[in-house]
């Protein structure tokens, strides 16, 4: 091809390895199912922010299809567009043609990952994070201890004062401030691997608690509260020690093989533990757990077990509402002395769009005596956290967050509840950015419920 041709010749004559990979990876039938009606567009946060077709689900699908159809070569812009997608999957439940966008995105990211030359310093970091750290609970614990020492001994203050944080982008330093205190001891270290239904009652069912990786280091308290709540609601709780990271961050970052390995270990761990249900308290993890069936569907050894596993995954709110003896909740102290405490709720996209359990948290909140649920306008819209999205796409993430906070302010709530650690941190960040920490607190719904449990 001559260098001087002005017309953007979209299809290249030479073989493009990423294009070839995409042709192999992408499910063409699924791509063809999109009738380009555009119904998905109003629910897409990146389309809302940019107003650009390419940054919408319909646009991204068209780009994928154009590559497979040899209409365009996947270039840097293509990759960037796929990266810009939050993976919140708000586009799925509204799609009347039932296009499995999430799966297509995963396939695309997997192909991109296999053909991406990361900059020299990114590779070892990715390697460390995805292959060495997350899959290994012991290492996560160690990281937890390190983080704790760092936070405890004032190094945090020192670093903050030293101005080092100023060198990092704004978001990073804000992030630093809202990070919860890490714990050196996880849920098993604190409660053991078995907690029976409270009060010596006959259990309704035996549930396996999925403790997560980051969750168990940064939100150990929430994990502990989850177990106690489940026990209060009449379940025997088992926390299999052999479980590991769910693999969501891997799957969403294009490390599908690694995600599959992690999935298999979890399937084994919970199978061996002999539980009736697998309970997650993080929408992001739960959503991948319910998709294990799909993730391992062509693994002859695991396909069936994975499907079985997936069918029994439930979010803690869902489990309480659907099967539990729902305990009594009452807010002890009132926000401003006399009126009822106002609580509002930011959906976890994955809990809502993938696990389809967006009602359960609301139903629970409505049962809390003395609390008033104020619906957050646009609660069903992603907060911009989306896994590690807020770190890799800080600009878009903060744009989305700032718009979100406009609605949050209107609720005048005292508590902003969420169902996912990423969203929780993002909401804390939002409150910090708006300097609203005097009036409002972001809390995981499990912690709020446990706090207000009538014992």
């Amino acid at each position: 091809m001559s260098e001087t041709s002005i017309k953007p010749k979209l299809a290249s004559t030479s073989v493009n390895p990423l294009a070839e990979r995409l042709k192999l990876t992408l499910n063409y039938d699924e791509l063809s199912n999109c009738i380009r009606c555009g119904f998905c567009q109003p629910s897409c946060p990146t389309f809302k922010e940019t107003g650009i077709e390419a940054a919408s689900p319909r646009g991204r699908l068209a780009l994928m299809k154009a590559v497979v159809d040899d209409l365009m070569v996947p270039d840097e812009a293509f990759r960037e567009q796929m990266d810009l997608c939050l993976g919140c999957r708000a586009c799925e439940p509204v799609c009347p043609a039932d296009v499995k966008y999430g799966q297509l995105l995963e396939q695309t990211r997997d192909a991109i990952e296999k053909h991406t030359e990361h900059r020299w310093w990114v590779k070892p970091i990715r390697n460390a994070v995805f292959k060495q750290l997350f899959p290994n609970q012991k290492r996560m614990r160690l990281l937890g201890s390190a983080l704790r020492i760092y936070q405890r001994f004032g190094i945090q203050g020192l670093v903050q004062k030293s101005g080092f944080m100023k060198l990092l982008p704004d978001t990073m330093s804000q992030m630093e401030r809202i990070l919860p205190e890490a714990s050196a001891k996880g849920v098993i270290e604190q409660l053991g691997t078995y907690v029976p239904a409270s009060g010596g009652r006959k259990p309704i069912a035996t549930v396996g608690m999925f403790r997560g990786c980051i969750m168990d280091v940064l939100f150990t308290e929430t994990n502990i509260n989850t177990v106690k709540l489940l026990s209060e609601a009449g379940f025997d709780v088992v926390i299999p020690e052999a479980q590991n990271c769910c693999g969501a961050l891997h799957a969403h970052s294009g490390e599908l093989d690694q995600a599959r390995e992690l999935a298999k270990k979890n399937v084994d761990a919970f199978r061996t533990a002999g539980v009736d249900y697998i309970i997650s308290n993080a929408g992001g993890c739960g959503a991948l757990l319910v998709e294990y069936g799909h993730l391992l569907h062509d693994d002859p050894e695991y396909a069936e077990a994975a499907l079985n596993f997936a069918e029994n995954v439930k979010d803690v709110s869902q489990m309480l509402m659907e099967k539990g003896n729902i305990p009594q909740f009452a807010v002890k102290e009132n926000g401003s002395g006399h009126e009822r405490v106002a609580v509002t709720y930011q959906d976890s996209c994955h809990l809502r769009n993938v696990m389809k359990a967006g009602n359960a948290p609301r139903d629970l909140m409505n049962r809390i005596e003395g609390a008033r649920l104020v619906e957050l306008q646009g609660a069903d819209r992603c907060c911009g956290s989306a896994g590690i999205y807020n770190l890799v796409q800080p600009q878009m993430s903060m744009d989305i967050l700032d718009h979100k906070m406009e609605h949050v302010k209107q609720t005048q709530a005292h508590y902003l509840l969420t169902s996912n650690p990423g969203c929780l941190l993002q909401m804390k960040l939002g409150i910090e950015r708006e300097q609203m920490s005097e009036q409002m607190k972001a809390v995981h719904i499990v912690d709020f419920l446990y706090e207000n449990l009538v014992k």
Binding site: I6, K7, P8, L10, D29, S32, N33, I35, R36, C37, G38, F39, Q41, P42, G51, I52, E53, A54, G59, A62, L63, A66, L71, M72, V73, D75, A77, F78, Q81, C95, P96, A97, D98
Partner: protein
């Protein structure tokens, strides 16, 4: 292909970020909701003001560059596909609701405003803007005006053209014209407002519009009539109109459509019925609304309805209407390619048309599901097929040709609300005749002598031969 100097000038007009011609932009503006048509434009531009539009058009006119206006790209006639290349002009940055005038009962807005958002704003004031295309969650008002979109309430309240009373439009020369205004009466010369409505971006770019509003009807009741016999359902439509009752909505849904709609919406639609009618009446007089609903219930039974159910709550009614709105896209669940047509007949002919469609589908061995705004005589026979099966697609084309022909024979038309675009262009002559086409071409020349406005739409290079020459 755009010369570098032109690209530079375009960037100067709208700003660096708002003119794009990278592969990503071109690919994502090569299609709309119309199946099986796609073509790459040479550039995509996002004007922000009427002055932008004017300067862009002037430049394009001078250099004979095709300009294709685009709202949300939800049209079904290939209206925003750049068949001859050129520039796609995306209007979604011009999306302000300028004013809702409660004294004059009018609203004025920019064309990129989302239809649903507009509805919500109007309804918040207790007012009512009837045109409600099923695509309103994504469509823009500019797109609605250019296609003269209809919807579920067309029967009683009319379509977009009955509401647009004033326009601001930019001609290809760059000149800005204003037609009509906040006036309910205006006979000063030819009615350019009405001429522009439904002109599919072939005459001018709309930059502002004024529409009239109605007070919102106070009461509303929704019912569902169910039939074991498709012909009986279709006959009921004519019977209701024949009894001089004009419901707000009178929709027809056949069994295959019913099945997929139920699969997506899960609201308990009766799957054992051959067809249902979704009927809604509204008004300010509750007694009258109830009387109409009772009368229609009786007529449905007389015509052979197996069952008639009245929605018990507003919520149930909304669900029914939502389900109906999703019909087209849910049909896409059956097979990958969904081709929806838009044949319209006089209302007394609805039953004959439904029978005819089913006969034709059988003849060509293709699957056609039918639903539509039966009350306006506007049916949407929808074929579920697979673009990759060339042989089948050929049969689909033949079947549709025969359906258009049947519609025209019954005194109907080739499109009731989706427009001609590139898809129906070869058939337009069947409807308006040779002299009609020539007259329309004359109008087109008067507006757009260089044929830069959405070329290749409405007027075909060649017309299809009529299957049956009659009339």
């Amino acid at each position: 292909m755009l010369a570098e100097s032109i690209r530079q000038q375009l960037r100067q007009i709208v700003g660096e970020a708002w003119f794009k011609d990278d592969p990503e932009a071109l690919v994502t503006h090569s299609y709309d909701a119309t199946p099986m048509v796609q073509n790459l434009p040479d550039g995509v531009i996002y004007p922000h003001t009427r002055e932008h539009v004017s300067e862009i058009l002037k430049l394009a006119n001078e250099h004979r560059i095709p300009i294709v206006g685009r709202g949300a790209g939800s049209n079904l006639c290939g209206g925003t596909v750049a068949t001859e290349g050129g520039i796609i002009m995306v209007m979604n940055r011009m999306n302000k609701l300028i004013e809702i005038d409660q004294e004059n009962l009018t609203a004025t807005f920019q064309p990129g405003l989302n239809t649903k958002e507009f509805h919500l704003a109007v309804e918040a004031l207790g007012l009512f803007y009837p045109p409600d295309p099923s695509s309103m969650v994504i469509s823009t008002l500019g797109g609605n005006i250019m296609e003269c979109a209809g919807g579920l309430r067309g029967l009683k309240y009319g379509t977009t053209k009955d509401y647009v009373i004033g326009l601001e439009a930019v001609l290809p020369s760059g000149e800005i014209i204003r037609t009509g205004g906040k006036l309910y009466k205006d006979v000063a010369g030819y009615d350019l407002t009405k001429l522009l409505v439904g002109s599919e971006g072939t005459l001018a770019i709309i930059t502002e519009a004024t529409v009239k509003l109605l007070p919102a009807p106070k009461y509303k009741k929704t019912m569902l009539a169910m039939y074991k016999d498709i012909y009986a359902a279709a006959k009921t439509v004519s019977a209701i109109i024949g009894h001089q009752i004009i419901p707000a909505t009178l929709e027809f849904i056949d069994n295959p459509t019913l099945r997929v709609v139920e699969a997506f919406n899960k609201i308990g639609l009766p799957l054992d019925m051959e067809a249902v009618l979704l009927i809604e009446q509204d008004g300010n007089d509750m007694v009258q609304v109830e009387r109409d609903i009772e009368a229609m219930t009786r007529i449905c039974h007389e015509q052979g309805a197996a069952d008639v159910k009245i929605a018990s709550s507003a919520e149930e009614a909304t669900k029914l209407m939502m389900a109906r709105r999703s019909a087209l896209s849910t049909l896409a669940r059956i097979r990958p390619t969904t081709i929806l047509e838009d044949a319209t007949v006089p209302r007394s002919k609805i039953a004959d048309m439904v029978i005819e469609i089913n006969k034709i589908a059988k003849k060509y061995n293709v699957q056609i599901c039918t639903f539509g705004h039966a009350g306006d005589g506007n049916l949407h026979p929808t074929c579920t097929t697979d673009a990759r099966d060339k042989d089948e697609i050929h049969r689909v084309e033949q079947a549709f040709e025969e359906i258009f022909d049947a519609a025209i024979r019954m005194g109907g038309t080739i499109t009731g609300e989706h427009g001609v675009g590139m898809m129906k262009a070869p058939y337009l002559e069947w409807k308006v005749g040779e002299a009609g086409i020539e007259l329309m071409k004359g109008i087109k020349r008067a507006f757009d002598p260089n044929n830069i406005m959405n070329p290749g739409k409405i007027f075909a290079k060649e017309s299809r031969k009529r299957l049956v020459v009659q009339r």
